[in-house]
Structure formats: C-alpha cells, structure tokens
Subunit: 342 residues, 2 copies
C-alpha cells in the first residue's frame, strides 16, 4: 500500500478554476489538520483558505510533502511548474502527483529528489502489490460503499461516514481506493490500476486484521452494473469482505452515465445483486442504507423521494451533502451494539 | 493483442518430465501443422513426436519462432539454454517465452534480437492494451467457457469446441486468454495480466466485430465463485458478450481447489449466476451445455453421472477427453439454425 508523508503543502500553481483545483479543495476540506498551507503563483484566483506559504516557509512549518492539488487540461505537467517542484524536493519535501505526466520521468526532478533523499509519488501510476486473494475471513468490521453507477458519491459517502463514526467514538478508518481518497487519507491503493489477477488480494490487504470493534470504511469503485468496470467492483467487494454495504445512487440517472443503452438498475435489484455477490466472502453482509446524490431535486422533491424510498426499502436514506450521514452512522452503531449483545 | 509468428520450433531443452513440457506437448497436440520440429538437448527424454531439428534446420524449414515449451522449476531460465536462444535469434527466429524470467531482461539476448531484427515475446509479462470497455454489442456470435472453479478444463473445452465447429463447416475462431492458449493459437491476451480498469475493454477487443455466422470460442478464466479471481471472470464475461456459455465442472471437487472454506456451487446455481451476470451486456445469453472433467470417475460412474445431470438440467453433458464435445457443437449448430430461421 502507498503511504504519503503528511502534512501537505498544497500546490495550486496558477489555478483559476475550482474544478481544476478540486484535489486541493477536497484535501483541505477532508483533512484540514494535515495541511500547513498552500503555494499559489501570482495569477492564481483559487484558494483553499489556508495560508499562502513559500517552500521554505512550508518546510519551517513542518510540511512533509508538496501535493500537486491542481489538474491542468490533459493532465500534463506545465514546464513552468518544474522549478518550484525541484526547489521543494531539494528542500526535503516529498512530491505527490496524480497527473498523467510521471514525476519519475522528469530527469531534473528525479536527480533533485535523489540528492535530497525524498520520494516522488505518482499516485496514478503506483507500482501496486502483486498478491493473490485468500478468501480468509479477517477480524474487525468493514463497510463498503457501492453504486448503481460510477461517479455518484461513493468516496464522499465513505469519508463522511468515517468522520461521523469517529465523532460517535467508534474506532473507524477511511480506506482509499482512488487517488483523491489516497491523498486525503495519506495512504491506500488505486484499485483500478492493480493487475487484474490481484484485485481481491490487494483489497484484502487494504483493510487488514483489526480489533472486533473497529470499522474500516472502504471507498467503493465503479459499479457491478457497468459494462466496463464491474470486474473491479466485484474484486473489491470480495476482497473487502464487508459486513455492511451502503448503496449510492443518483435518481436523475435513468441510464448509466454516457451509456444510453444501459438502464440504471432498480434499487432493490441492485441491493440484491450486491448482497448475493458479497455473500461469497462474507455470508453475513447486509445493506444498511442508501446514500443519494439529490443535487437534481428541489428540497420538497428530495424529501418526498427520501420518504418514499425509506418506506419501500425499510432502510435509512440520506444525502451526505444535504443532511449528513447520521442516519447511516446510527444504523452501524446499532448493528454493532446488536452484535455485541450476541 | 499479441500476435506470434508461426510456425514454431519447439524448444524442449533437457526435459525429462512430460509435466514440465506440457506447453510443448499442448502446442504439438492442438496446432501440429504449426510446428516444424523440436529442439532437444542430449539428455532430454520427452518428445512431441515432431522431428528433431537444429536451429539452422528449423530456419531452413521455414520456422518463424523458437517457442520455449518447457517450464523449469521456479520458472527461471537456466543459463545453459542461453547460447541456443541467442543462436536462434541471430538466425532470424522470434523467441516466445512464458517463463517468469523476462527475455527482455537478458542483455545478450536483447542485443542479438536487435541485431537480427527479431522479436522477444514474454507472454507472461505482455504490455497489454489499456482500453476501456464500451458495452457496445458487436456483430458475430460468441461462446465463452466458464467454470465452477479454476483449472478444470475451460481452455481444453474451448479448443475442442472450436475444432469441432470448424469440422462441421462452421466459421469458428479460438480466442486465447491465457499464455498456453496464446501459444497454441498464435495470438490473444493474458487477461489476468491486464490492468483492472481495462479487463472488459481488452476482452471486447479480443473478439471484434465479425460476420453473423461466425463464432468466437473464448477461453474462460477463473470463476465467479472464486474469492481471488471473480473480478477477472466477470470482466471477461462482460467484455465477451457471449451468446452461449458452456459451464465447466469437476464433480470430485466438493470445495474449491486449495480453499476448503469455499464450497463448489451447485450446477444450477452456477448457471443462474453466470446468466444473470452475462445478461448485462447480452440479454440473450444462454447456457448450452456442461463440460465435465470426469477423470475421478470410472466409466460406469461417469455414464451414470452424465445421464443424471442431463436429466436434471435438460442440457447436454460431455467430457471432452472421454467422448468429445460433439453434443455441444450440435447444440451450437442447432441454435444457429434456429436463429437463421427467425
């Protein structure tokens, strides 16, 4: 598994659009205590609200890594960023990048990092472990977010749930399976970049043995209903051995994103398919609730939708952004207490 | 996709065990017309029955590649093989290897290949395509072999079926997804070595658009019921879009190989799970029969088993080694005729 050295100096370059800076904004939102500041060029208009620091100031403030928090069009590293990255490496900071351009392919930067004894982390291209799944049941408890489609809130839901559980005094760890999640949590694996033979094996290592009261909250990827990505989703499901699933959904999608020929599954069918598949490695798996991206609905429509689905499925339904995930956290805490009673 | 240059000179080195030489024996069995001869060292006792040739004789006979047909313990290349491989490369033969040792990591061999303009093919380590699945339905017809477990005859069944269909005058192509299959057919992809994100996409490319009467017979991998490999199996299933499935099974396995905690699924449950998953990309998918590895059964027990399963499932049941796959080929031909009648 990848481990990053926090805290971060967030590199924003000349960001003028919050969309291209969403990595920096996400990191600042989800782990503000792990950010010493941000480094902006003169023309930048986006800010995370953290103090503007030079490389030297960030090092003095204890930074461990410079994290490239902006994704330029095409994912290529603009040449005028390079002097700052070299300065940071020479000053003792690891460099963390999710760009298509590999830091390890830039000779001047590689030389500076080698001379300073720091690491260059190409999160998108990590050399992930090659380990085969065992199917062995691990101690500790696990929750996985799954979806009716891709890109509808699985990471956000998992992050919000881990935070909510921690606030309730439950030992909980967010486990990242994609690059933004890895940057936020400081570790994890880009599960879709693993060699196919090892998906489940790597997923097993991502949430290792733990004590009985601990919850790993695992970021899901893809969807069992997606013709391109279901294999990744199934391997992650099997390796995660979840006790609990949260199904993520966007009611505005009548078909999968960019695939008009593929209808979005009905919620009850999706739950049944995920449970059926999940039972292979954990026969006790349950769905504990639904997380909805309701951005397409007005407030009244959202409340009506939520109440209807809750009544139909008998499960709590939340929108993490609209009302938080407390109802899901409560369901988990309740499940845990019930199990402790046994 | 990988494409190999046939015909082959089969390299047997100093093979004294048919087990270590199973690649050479498999290639000689399944594509004898693609083998000009074999190259044995003095101490070798295994033969494929093909003429013993020197490198020069093989080149004179039109060989395109030297294929390493023996797997030494540990999968490493013994140093005393190297002079022969260098001689072959210098003489104009591509070198094909499925060993763990990478040919591309042996500087003397790389230099000889570069000087002669020949290719070194590390089938186990191929640089496979990085292409995302589309879910678009392709013309032409497809059959995929699937299994209740791993390693119980999916490759053998697919090879036998392709051959049987061809003998019946049906246009059929075997599509390899593992290294021995690739060596036999001269092309394909090691699907379990593909990056997870691209399993289905690469599987789509393996059986491209074809004419309506053509059958691709695709070698299955892994099993939907295996806690380590189900992701690969599902991605291959989705990308293959099979019209027909053949379920492969070994009745001696009450649990998965080396996994006592994982029961082998019941045949009817396995069929239903594969059909349910396959319908995502081809709603018309059907299971057309069962291929059994009955090596654990005596003749009378096999006949009784076969008759009972045929009656229970209403599908043809064959053992490719014991009685061939004609009943499956007939089911396919019949299905095709039925469809042409529509």
């Amino acid at each position: 598994m990848l481990l990053l050295r926090k805290p971060y100096l967030l590199f924003l370059g000349d960001a003028t659009s919050p969309v291209t800076a969403k990595t920096a904004l996400g990191v600042a939102e989800w782990c503000p205590a792990d950010v010493v500041g941000e480094l902006r060029f003169a023309g930048a208009t986006v800010t995370t609200g953290k103090p503007a620091l030079s490389v030297a100031q960030a090092v003095a403030a204890g930074a461990g890594s410079l994290l490239i928090g902006i994704a330029p069009a095409g994912g290529q590293l603009p040449p005028h960023w390079l002097p700052t990255l070299i300065e940071a490496a020479a000053a003792g900071l690891d460099i963390v990048s999710g760009l298509h351009t590999r830091l390890s392919g830039i000779p001047e930067l590689v030389a500076a990092a080698a001379a300073a004894g720091v690491q260059l982390h190409d999160v998108r291209h990590g050399d992930w472990p090659r380990v085969t799944g065992t199917g062995r049941k691990r101690p500790g408890r696990r929750l996985l977010t799954v979806g009716t489609d891709c890109a509808l809130g699985k990471k956000y839901t998992a992050l919000a749930l881990a935070r909510s559980l921690q606030a309730r005094g439950v030992a909980a760890t967010f486990r990242a399976t994609g690059q933004t999640g890895i940057m936020i949590s400081g570790g994890g694996v880009a599960i879709d970049a693993v060699v196919a033979d090892f998906i489940a094996g790597v997923a097993e290592q991502l949430s290792p043995d733990n004590h009985a009261g601990h919850w790993d909250v695992i970021e899901g990827q893809g969807s069992l209903f997606h013709p391109a990505y279901a294999g990744v989703s199934l391997g992650l499901l099997h390796g995660s051995q979840p006790d609990a699933l949260v199904l993520c959904h966007d009611p505005s999608r009548t078909h999968l994103d960019a695939l008009p020929g593929y209808q979005t599954p009905r919620l009850e069918n999706a739950i049944e398919m995920y449970l059926q598949a999940g039972r292979l490695t954990n026969p006790a798996v349950r769905c504990i609730g639904i997380s909805v991206n309701s951005s397409s609905l007005g407030e009244a429509a959202w409340r009506a939708y939520r109440d209807r689905i809750e009544a139909e499925l008998g499960l709590p339904v939340v929108d993490p952004i609209r009302g938080g995930v407390e109802a899901l956290a409560a369901a988990i805490t309740h499940q845990q207490e019930t199990c402790h009673d046994n």
